[in-house]
């Protein structure tokens, strides 16, 4: 208790590492080699500190680690909070961002790296880390902006006609989303009188004691849900996804799909399952309102994303649309869990209540999607680097010419489909289990919605098999067309530069050295092994997700963690003790 009330540097470490690396890479722009080394060191450091935080919070004994910036007690200052949910999301970010960064170092054109790639990448990581860690709702907005600002520039990075157009809609949509978020935050502040999430949860739980009008917060929560759905690319707000993912460089797309998207999911979980759940509205809790909405949008996402992806003739677009569908699988357990959050779970299920289990299932699936989709986007990026295109017409027969590439794609695809022993199997298993348990135990609308979600998940799973198989057939099997024939044999056997075919194809990316390919292949292999490794050792992921699920749904624990001593709204009752270990300077 005493130990956890002291500010511990490990909580801010991911933020500081990312920020420091971003600034150092800005300073090191005089020499690309130095900049790369700094950037890679920062990437390794980021993964290391997220792993450390994960080890402390999820695997260790401490449950909620608050960090009071400048030692201002909550709720007066900004509080960063690392609980199992935040730490798991950060660990996910750590797993995906390092391989993507290594890939980017060899894949992004030198001029681009020299200009701004590395600072932007690390600023984006800083924004992501801040959003995962903050316990203050306005601060969440600020970190969203930090993350988005970098991602705007990274989407328009290549600055061609397609890229500018995609970035324009991405920027305009997100600016509108930010304005809406600001309105919602202002309204929440006006009604609850605080911006601190823990304080807000406490005040919403005892509205009479704090003189809070609860009803308006429901509408404001709905506004926030729309904003987070936009960030996560859930169906009515998905339209920016394909263009933006296609425009960004492949490693950035891997991070956008793997991590940045998950920030929206995280925000939904944090605000609805931890904060708004405390409030009692006219017809139940906030979860009762939000559950059906989440289930319906998830169903729409899975079906739409799957159908749209099946029809695409271009690998990157197919993967981008598949992201829309896969996010549906992440949102579905959240929605079903929100319908009957307090349903007790039988033994052997990770999570004591349906809410905790739903969040855990969503997190395992998020992890699967982050690694698998990141891997697949990097495969697409390698194809672009080597052949200069990812159109199915101009690809084929690559399995025999580039076995590592093919193997990586196969594993990524199989994990997306959900084949054991890959981690994707456990993700799908848990998602379906949530639906079955809720459908069997629930009654009325909740059960019907759970079965509907389950049916749609089945359709979505079949569609996933369809589009992964189609992409595999088109790209890796069959007769190689001239584009592949000319490029690949030379590159992978003799390693000669400047193939004529790629240049004639207009593929300005098609000039790739052997070393580049070797590094890219290693990154792909590492990610593929990660998928298998975490699939075989799925216990770790599932247990971490279960911890995170408990943490996310334990509002009282979260509030107590942020206010270690029980005082009046953040002012410790026993001031001497608190300032003795924290504020003595």
């Amino acid at each position: 208790m005493v130990a956890s009330s002291v500010n511990q540097p490990v909580v801010v470490a991911p933020l500081l590492v990312a920020l420091a690396t971003a600034i150092l890479t800005l300073l090191a722009r005089f020499d690309l080699r130095v900049e790369r080394v700094v950037s890679l060191a920062g990437g390794v450091g980021y993964t290391a500190v997220t792993a450390l935080l994960f080890q402390r919070v999820v695997l260790g004994s401490e449950s909620v680690l608050p960090y009071y910036l400048s030692n201002w007690p909550a709720p007066y200052g900004i509080t960063l909070v690392a609980d199992a949910l935040s730490a798991s999301m950060l660990a996910l970010a750590g797993v995906v961002t390092l391989p993507a960064l290594v890939f980017a170092v060899v894949s992004v054109r030198e001029r681009g790296q020299r200009l701004s790639f590395h600072p932007l990448y690390h600023f984006m990581l800083a924004g992501v880390s801040g959003a995962f860690l903050t316990g203050d709702i306005f601060n969440l907005f600020v970190w969203f902006e930090v993350m988005l600002m970098s991602s705007y520039v990274l989407v328009v990075f290549y600055s061609g006609p397609e890229h500018t157009r995609a970035a324009l809609s991405y920027v305009v949509l997100n600016l509108l989303g930010s304005a809406v978020m600001l309105v919602a935050i202002g309204g929440l502040y006006a009604t609850t009188g605080t911006l601190n999430m823990a304080a807000m949860a406490r005040r919403l739980g005892e509205p009479a004691a704090y003189n809070v009008a609860v009803a308006p917060t429901l509408g404001l929560a709905a506004l926030l849900l729309a904003v987070f759905a936009l960030k996560a690319g859930i169906v009515p707000f998905h339209f920016w996804v394909p263009a933006a993912y296609r425009a960004a460089p492949a490693p950035v797309t891997a991070v956008l799909a793997g991590v940045v998207k998950k920030v929206g999911i995280y925000a939904i979980v944090r605000l609805f399952f931890t904060v708004f759940v405390a409030a009692e509205y006219a017809n139940g809790s906030a979860l009762d309102y939000v559950g059906p909405v989440l289930v319906v949008t998830a169903v729409a996402s899975m079906v739409y994303g799957g159908l749209a992806a099946v029809g695409r003739d271009e690998l990157e677009q197919l993967l981008a649309l598949s992201s829309v569908g896969q996010v549906g699988f992440i949102v579905l357990p959240l929605g079903i869990a929100a319908l009957a959050p307090n349903l007790p779970m039988p033994n052997g299920v990770p999570g004591e209540t349906l809410a905790a289990f739903g969040v855990a299932a969503a997190l395992v699936y998020s992890f699967n999607h982050a690694v698998a989709k990141g891997l697949l986007f990097l495969v697409a990026g390698t194809l672009t680097d080597v052949i200069g295109t990812t159109e199915f017409d101009r690809l084929g027969g690559i399995a025999r010419r580039a076995p590592v590439l093919a193997g990586a794609f196969l594993l990524g695809g199989l994990s997306l489909i959900g084949v054991p022993p890959l981690i994707g199997f456990f993700g799908k298993l848990l998602v379906f289990r949530v639906g079955v348990l809720a459908g069997a135990a629930g009654s009325g609308t909740a059960a019907r919605l759970a079965w509907l979600g389950l049916a749609a998940a089945l359709v979505g799973a079949v569609l996933t098999i369809a589009y992964v198989t189609r992409a595999w057939n088109a790209v890796f099997w069959g007769e190689p067309p001239k584009t592949v024939e000319a490029v690949l044999e030379e590159r992978w056997s003799a390693g000669r530069r400047e193939s004529t075919a790629a240049a004639a194809d207009g593929g300005q990316f098609g000039v790739t050295s052997r070393r580049t390919l070797a590094v890219e292949a290693v990154v792909l292999a590492v990610l593929a092994v990660t998928l298998v490794g975490f699939g075989v050792g799925a216990d770790l992921v599932v247990e971490a997700a279960a911890e995170a699920g408990e943490a996310a749904t334990d509002t009282a624990g979260y509030v107590d963690g942020v206010y270690p001593e029980d005082g009046i709204d953040g002012v410790p009752a026993d001031g001497g003790d608190h300032s003795g270990d924290g504020g003595g300077h």
Binding site: F141, V142, M149, V156, P161, T164, L168, L176, G186, Y189
Partner: protein, 113 residues
Amino acid sequence: MTQWLLAAVLGLLFALGTFLVLRRDVVRVVWGVAIISQSANVYLVTMGGLAGAAPIGDFRGETPPPTDPLVQALVLTAIVIGFGTTALALVLTYRVYEEHGTIDVYDLGGEGL
């Protein structure tokens, strides 16, 4: 009185911003976004209350309490962020014009889903 006036002004500003965002001209869209984010800022300021005195000095125990200064700090942050994003959006508009030779949303088209 002030709050009714501000409510009306806010409504008008949001309506104007929405109207501009729906235009075909990208520059107008960007201005529409800028107006919407500025009206969000005005909204934020009004959330601090309009009746109290300026929050400078020691107001412990006094009634009515002074205006909440926190929202003004929030708005400052939001203004800075809005400034940056508007600048980026305008530059992006110019890049779009350079790449496509038009800033008409219909002519720019899109990938279509």
